[in-house]
Symmetry: C3
Subunit: 138 residues, 3 copies
């Protein structure tokens, strides 16, 4: 039987595209789902310690970057990292780094933000994701 799980392959590493990762994780946990996240490529690089401070925004919307950041600050929108931390406190949310990307860029688990639970291969991710309800590529 399909399990109550949302999986996400997080490939993108722009600030705007990481927002829905945190929001979908929080929303899924609030509705009783488990969450299984696989960070790869630019998405993984965005989870290096401190990288969140200086992420790009999607190029098409660069002109709106300042306005967006201002709205976020005014409305006190939590960062994607804070959203993920909250989601992990409230439910079963696992965040894994892609082993191949780790190797490609010479990264170790201690180089990554504390929300990352470990390193897995793509096959292991697929095996878990395929039994869930939804898998998104972000």
């Amino acid at each position: 039987m399909a399990q109550e799980r949302l999986s996400m392959v997080v490939f993108s590493g722009t600030l705007d595209k990481l927002m829905p990762v945190g929001i979908l994780a929080s929303g899924a946990v609030a509705m009783g789902l488990e969450v299984n996240i696989f960070l790869t490529f630019w998405g993984l690089l965005a989870f290096r310690k401190g990288a969140a401070q200086s992420l790009p925004i999607s190029k098409e919307y660069e002109a709106m970057a300042e306005q967006m950041k201002q709205i976020m600050a005014e409305k006190k929108v939590p960062s994607f990292l804070d959203n993920l931390r909250t989601a992990k406190e409230l439910g079963n949310v696992k965040v894994y780094a892609c082993g191949m990307t780790m190797d490609l860029f010479g990264l170790k688990l201690e180089d990554l933000e504390d929300v990352v639970d470990g390193v897995v291969g793509v096959g292991e991710f697929i095996t878990t994701a395929k039994e869930g309800k939804m898998t998104l590529f972000i």
Copy 2:
């Protein structure tokens, strides 16, 4: 049992990425599926009244924008809004705006194109989407 439904989180707001939203909705309806669309962030901003007239194209293909628009016009490709309108006439297609994005940008339902059926939260979208056959993040 999983329901015959295609769900789409429409995060992107470029003209090229909105094309497959309309085409997938039409295709899904033609094959007897329901369609459940959740407009968020740039994707929602693209559904503000009149916004479709001046959407950007993905930055990597800017040089091809004019050629693309010309091909579209020559081949009489319907706009993503027209595709969605047709899909809604032919089947069960619901288009919802993300409540959080509405609040973030101070939008009201009357600010949006007529294809938008209402406003929902991310949790409500997930609850509907997870019982469907496919959920895409666009």
Copy 3:
């Protein structure tokens, strides 16, 4: 019953976004899944014969393009086409071109790389994809 299949709508045509297409296909096949790929728009244009030699990289990361290509070469990372070829040798991987995009750009099957198995419509893709375990939009 849901079939052991991963489907992917490949809309994007940048070198970085095509990497996970090959890697997910290989990973899925290694875990015993079938793979069903639907190439559309920029994703299809990237499969024109020889096009892989000069694909753009996502605009946000242009500054890292040279470094990325160098890392790929040093670590001997196979190209997305080679990854797909290997995946096809090891399992049931089908790669289809979107009929509408073929028509839009006046393309014929012989204009495309040898990994492409044929041309299908969006409805046919949806019918196959919806019975699988996961469908991603890339």
